[in-house]
């Protein structure tokens, strides 16, 4: 199969959806003429023009709220937050308007909007630019949350997100943009991946590693080392979407291995892995041979210092230690 980058995969998804549906348009800061701060939208403005690819002033509350309003009329805005971190200045529009206007209108309205951009640490841009708000998004019923780890998933999930009739918070990762992966050729037909279906990215028997986003790669790295150095074989389950959540797949791997380590770039307090741990202990209490363990970012604002930031994020080393502690 052909190989493209995560960035190109997203770009393809936009390109295809823009062509498929005249209601789809991209909007964000520097997404058009500048080709995107991270070049994810490269070439799309040149190809599709001002109407379909729109540069916005630095007014996240304004342009995201505007997109929500436009979506109520049936448009399908795909909004870029240059960094997901900047949701903090647009939070009211996201939580209350995108997330709740359907409910408050008794179902008269729906908001088929996608909000997307990178949500990750690891690039030494400091605390204000390194939020990973998937837990905060997913705590709001009404929002959906997707965190792809590979090029293939990025494309397939993005196309589904754009077609979804509910607001989807789509979290990419600047550290993944350049990574290559196999992605089906558009010539072979329309390629989508449903939300709410986890992907078992590695099969094992001893321990389940459950993760989302780039943490999946950390989990895979740890799994290889555990296999090579300790003979421990791990399932690596990639949640892919946080809400909807593939609970069945989670319970299945837990039933198989009875031991779980969650890998999660969120800060620990009320991170996504707190929810998954709570869920597992509730629904698979008797399956568990050891407490569910979590490897999260170290519980402080994101540090700038490059070598130390590496340590702050989940590392394969920390995952391995956790696994060894419960085996």
């Amino acid at each position: 199969m052909r190989t493209i980058t995560y960035r190109q995969a997203l770009n393809e998804a936009f390109d295809e959806e823009i062509q498929r549906d005249p209601n789809v348009f991209l909007i964000g800061e520097e997404v058009a003429e500048y080709d995107g701060a991270y070049k994810v939208t490269q070439g799309l403005w040149k190809k599709h023009g001002d109407k379909r690819v729109v540069d916005s002033p630095i007014s996240e509350s304004g342009f995201i709220g505007m997109a929500v309003g436009a979506s109520m009329l049936g448009l399908r805005p795909v909004c870029e937050l240059m960094f997901w971190s900047f949701y903090t200045v647009a939070w009211d529009q996201i939580a209350n308007n995108a997330g709740m206007v359907r409910y408050m209108s008794g179902g008269l309205i729906n908001c088929p909007i996608v909000i997307r951009g990178p949500a990750n640490g690891g690039t030494n841009v400091g605390a204000t630019h390194s939020h990973t708000p998937e837990n905060i998004m997913a705590t709001i019923p009404g929002l959906k949350v997707v965190c792809p780890a590979t090029a293939r998933d990025a494309k397939g999930l993005m196309k589904t997100a754009i077609r979804d009739n509910d607001p989807v918070m789509f979290m990419e990762n600047t550290m993944l943009y350049g990574l290559e992966g196999e992605v089906p050729d558009p010539a072979d037909g329309d390629f989508t991946i449903p939300l709410g279906v986890a992907d078992l990215k590695r099969e094992g028997v001893d321990v389940s590693l459950i993760a989302h986003g780039r943490s999946v790669l950390i989990a895979l790295e740890a799994a290889e080392i555990l296999s090579a150095e300790h003979g421990i074989e791990c399932d690596v389950l990639d949640l892919r979407s946080i809400r909807p959540l593939d609970e069945e797949a989670i319970l299945e791997t837990v039933a198989k291995t009875s031991r779980v380590v969650l890998v999660d770039e969120n800060k620990p307090f009320c991170g996504v892995s707190a929810q998954i741990a709570a869920l597992i202990q509730e629904k698979a209490f008797d399956d568990l041979d050891a407490p569910v363990q979590r490897v999260c970012s170290i519980d402080a604002p994101a540090i700038y210092s490059p070598p130390v930031e590496k340590e702050q994020l989940p590392t394969a080393r920390r995952v391995i230690d956790k696994v060894l502690s419960i085996i």
């Binding site: 509350s61 342009f63 505007m66 009329l73 209108s105 008794g106 019923p141 509910d166 709410g196």
Partner: protein
């Protein structure tokens, strides 16, 4: 700052108003009276504890909603804040679904899920009803953006209060509206107060709040007598025309006044019990007497020979009856059930699509 004051111009003679038929004029009067009676009825029901939460009454401001909405064509849209009953009835929502919403019933316009602050009727181009001060202003912009994107000749009328102009989202919206020439009309209903704070204690301004628009290169205008439906129509009409013909935004400020407390929970400050508080009985009486939109328009129509005292009494009676019927309707309607809690959260789930059936959406046990 624009304070309600007698118009020196006779706006009944302007083109937009001269074009109204007698029937249309009576209809406008009727619309204002229906709003007044609906809210008076709602207030009574509130005191009987038939509803919970807030009830922000629009009484005193009726000419703004009715005058503005009367200019709406097929592709014109309306959105407002939590003081939303007047606009709702003006766009043609029925009293039944509105009263039922206040009662928290399933037959309510939002199925009892939204309450007083969250009336909606997309089929009537009415997009709510929003509780977060200023939060509706980017949405209103989005309606305008959508119209322009679709190539439709229309506008979005986005109402907000004199307190709401100090929210960041409004400022961001103004910049985008000005920059992209979006056909949005921001109508600041300046009733002199945000809750208990008089306008001069909440806003720094030069001559008025609308004037801030100049800083974004946006045209602005003022209605000095917001209780004169003709003046409202004239000024809003020009903005609608600008939106339709040039796809350009306008900011309007309309001087108006609310007779009741900020919400009816704001009892200390409402007419029945006012002793101290942020405004005097005399002030309220002054506006009631001299700037009542219904009184104002009634007088005009009688003078014009378009209607009579008696006919107005009949209109009022009908509105009272309609209100009563809506109370009965609301009373007899069922409450939502606990199961209803989980519908209307996700469209895909509601429609039982494949997407709605895939993965877990809700995290109750």
């Amino acid at each position: 700052m624009p304070v309600l004051a007698e118009s020196t111009t006779d706006f009944s003679k302007t083109e937009i108003n001269a074009a109204l038929t007698a029937e249309q004029k009576r209809h406008l009067l009727r619309d204002m009276i229906r709003i007044r009676e609906f809210e008076t009825g709602a207030f009574e029901q509130y005191q009987k504890k038939k509803m919970g939460g807030f009830l922000h009454l629009y009484i005193g401001q009726e000419a703004v909603a009715v005058g503005s909405v009367s200019l709406m064509g097929d592709n014109d849209h309306v959105i407002t804040a939590y003081r939303d009953h007047g606009h709702a009835l003006a766009v043609g929502m029925g009293m039944d679904e509105c009263m039922a919403e206040l009662f928290g019933k399933r037959t309510g316009c939002s199925k009892g899920k939204g309450g007083s602050m969250h009336f909606f009727a997309p089929d009537k181009n009415y997009w709510g009803g929003h509780g977060i001060v200023g939060g509706q202003t980017p949405l209103g912009l989005g309606l305008a953006f959508g119209l322009k994107y679709k190539g439709l000749k229309g506008c979005s009328m986005c109402f907000l209060g004199d307190g709401a102009v100090n929210q960041g989202a409004y400022h961001e919206s103004l910049n985008l509206a000005g920059l992209w020439d979006l056909p949005v009309i921001y109508v600041i209903e300046n009733n002199g107060y945000s809750m208990g704070t008089s306008q001069k204690r909440s806003s720094a301004f030069n001559t008025c709040l609308a004037e801030r628009a100049a800083g974004y290169g946006i045209i602005w205008d003022v209605v000095r007598n917001g209780s004169d439906l003709y003046e409202v129509r004239e000024v809003v009409g020009r903005a609608v025309e600008r939106a339709h013909a040039e796809s350009r935004p306008t900011v309007l400020e309309i001087a108006t006044y609310r007779y009741e407390g900020h919400s009816v929970a704001d009892a200390k400050h409402n007419k029945q019990t006012l002793q101290e508080g942020y405004r005097t009985k005399d002030e309220i009486e002054h506006y009631r007497k001299n700037f009542d939109p219904i009184g104002n328009f009634s007088e005009k129509l009688i003078q014009e020979g378009v209607t009579t005292e008696d006919e107005i009494k009949e209109i009022r009676k009908a509105a009272v009856a309609e209100t009563r019927a809506s109370v009965t309707f609301a009373d007899q309607s069922a409450f939502p059930t606990a199961e209803d809690l989980l519908t209307d959260v996700y469209s895909e789930v509601d429609h039982n699509t494949l997407a709605g059936r895939t993965g877990r959406h809700f995290f109750n046990d």
